[in-house]
């Protein structure tokens, strides 16, 4: 897809998630978010980026329905979010794998909760385990895998339930640098096949620019939307070329210029 064509399709895309006047105050009185308005286009990858403690994970969990905001509401395709739903799947920063279950059972877990019959969900799990590149590890336990592999299990579990929206909370935070790069590339590859809307939380500028179509910059606590940057990078290039792309480097510099004022 060339640049122009891509931009054309983007403008036509519908909003899938609408964040409307969200404020969040925790019980102790900490104001995590204040007046957040945001539209997330369907079929794109949006990242939330900001200094630590800016409430980006809180925002993600509110969209996921895991937290209830003190003010405002989130709508998905026009319907108000009141809790987690089958249209969203979550990937956790600390993987949230069951240590007593094999990779296979962990990946099946979302389907198991929905009451899908055993052989059916088994088949599906095998497929997604292979897609995240873990074929052959079905019978391993999480403690036998590296951090990067564990997060692949978390990703496969989220993909297996076939939700439209994939929500990832700093999925690479506990993964070392080389694994992280490889994982980012694999993830982009996989997502281009899966056609999902992805919401991604990160504190790495490079990661945000590299993986997303739209970067939402949040200010320090209480978190507010500071800027929304649409990254127009030719993604048909190879990963290494992208990382040397002028546009890519400009976006990184721009964002850094904003973020450094928070230090």
């Amino acid at each position: 897809m060339n640049q122009v064509a891509k931009n054309m399709t983007e403008t036509k895309q519908d909003t899938i998630v609408e964040v409307d006047g969200i404020a969040m105050r925790y019980e102790g009185g900490v104001q995590a978010l204040k007046g957040v308005d945001l539209k997330i286009p369907s079929g794109e990858l949006t990242s939330f980026l900001g200094p630590s403690g800016c409430g980006k994970t809180t925002l993600l969990k509110i969209i996921a329905g895991l937290l209830t905001p003190t003010e405002g509401e989130v709508r998905i395709r026009g319907k108000k979010v009141t809790g987690p739903g089958p249209d969203r799947a979550f990937v956790f920063q600390d993987f949230a794998l069951m240590p007593w279950a094999t990779v296979q059972r962990n990946v099946e877990f979302g389907l198991e909760l929905r009451g899908m019959p055993k052989d059916q969900r088994g088949e599906k799990a095998v497929k997604y385990i292979a897609e995240v590149g873990l074929a052959g590890f079905e019978k391993s336990y999480p403690h036998e895998l590296s951090g990067g592999m564990r997060q692949r299990v978390g990703l496969a579990r989220a993909l297996a339930v076939d939700a439209d929206i994939l929500m990832m909370d700093e999925p690479f935070a506990s993964v070392d640098e080389q694994t992280r790069r490889k994982f980012q590339e694999d993830m982009l590859d996989l997502l281009s096949k899966e056609k999902k809307t992805v919401i991604f939380v990160t504190h790495s500028i490079e990661e945000a620019v590299y993986v997303s179509d739209q970067v939402v910059l949040l200010s320090p606590r209480p978190g507010q939307v500071q800027r929304i940057i649409r990254t127009e990078i030719d993604r048909s290039k190879s990963p290494d070329e992208i990382r040397r792309d002028k546009n890519y480097l400009d976006y990184v510099d721009d964002i850094w210029a904003v973020l450094r004022t928070y230090l």
């Binding site: 969990k61 996921a64 329905g65 895991l66 809790g83 987690p84 739903g85 089958p86 969203r88 799947a89 979550f90 956790f92 920063q93 600390d94 949230a96 069951m98 240590p99 007593w100 279950a101 877990f109 979302g110 198991e112 909760l113 929905r114 336990y141 403690h143 036998e144 339930v161």
Partner: protein, 254 residues
């Protein structure tokens, strides 16, 4: 291959550690450190004799029965209470302090009172086992249930799991290691309780055998009695550990 040599080595170390202990015992008995301290060999001979002439069998028939009943009651009630307290705040508020006090206190002191209530029969022994074992089992189960990793709970919720699925598929399996630890502690405490009851109030079973051999100054026999009950408790705990491997397959590969 490397694993097998390692396995053989730990086996060898075990053997050496037993040899060291029994060797020290033999020397201490030969000095002797006390006129009532038999050598290891004398004790061992007494042990073998009592194993084969049925003295142990008769005694343990009386000791094991209350132990099994008491441990069974404590396990069922303990896991039940512990899990309920972990899941249900009102129950926690009502019971947790009581069990913490019972855990920290020498509940053995109640045993004379138990005798007053229930005489010197089986019931008293069962109660002695239960009051020693129950608090440990309850508190461990409670801790296991209460300290479920929050992100696992969030994970179930994000996949729209019901509260029942949350309990059955996450909270209980997650607590299983602490539940097993509680059962092990409980069985250990149950042994203490039953022996104490037999020494203190009901002259039956292995406790009576110890008291009898002490009174007639058959010290090798007395030491053999004591060794046998310690060995039995160690073996029971090892068996339980092996059972845990069966129930929790992920611990096997570690």
């Amino acid at each position: 291959m490397a694993l097998r040599t390692l396995g053989r080595q730990t086996w060898l170390w075990k053997l050496m550690s037993f040899a060291l202990f029994f060797g020290a015992w033999e020397i201490a008995g030969r000095i002797p450190i006390s006129l009532s301290f038999p050598t290891f060999i004398e004790t061992f001979i007494a042990f073998v004799r009592m194993t084969f002439n049925g003295e142990f069998a008769t005694a343990y028939l009386q000791t094991i029965q209350p132990l099994i009943i008491g441990v069974a009651i404590s396990s069922v009630a303990g896991v039940g209470f512990g899990v309920l307290m972990g899941l249900w705040r009102t129950m926690e508020w009502f019971l947790v302090v009581i069990f913490i006090i019972l855990y920290a206190s020498p509940v053995a002191a109640i045993i004379p009172l138990v005798t007053y209530m229930y005489g010197i029969g089986l019931t008293s022994k069962v109660i002695a086992v239960v009051i020693m074992a129950l608090p440990l089992i309850v508190l461990n189960c409670y801790k296991g249930v209460r300290h479920t990793h929050p992100s696992l709970i969030e994970m179930v919720r994000s996949f729209q799991g019901s509260r029942w699925q949350e309990i059955r598929l996450i909270i209980l399996p997650n607590a299983s290691s602490l539940i097993f630890a509680g059962l092990r502690l409980g069985i250990g405490a149950g042994f203490i309780g039953v022996v104490l009851a037999e020494l203190l109030i009901t002259p039956t079973g292995i406790g009576d055998l110890i008291t009898y051999h002490r009174s007639v100054a058959d010290y090798p026999e007395m030491f053999a009695d004591i060794t046998s009950i310690i060995a039995l408790s160690a073996v029971s705990l090892t068996v339980l550990l092996k059972m845990e491997f069966l129930v929790r397959p992920e611990t096997r590969k570690r």
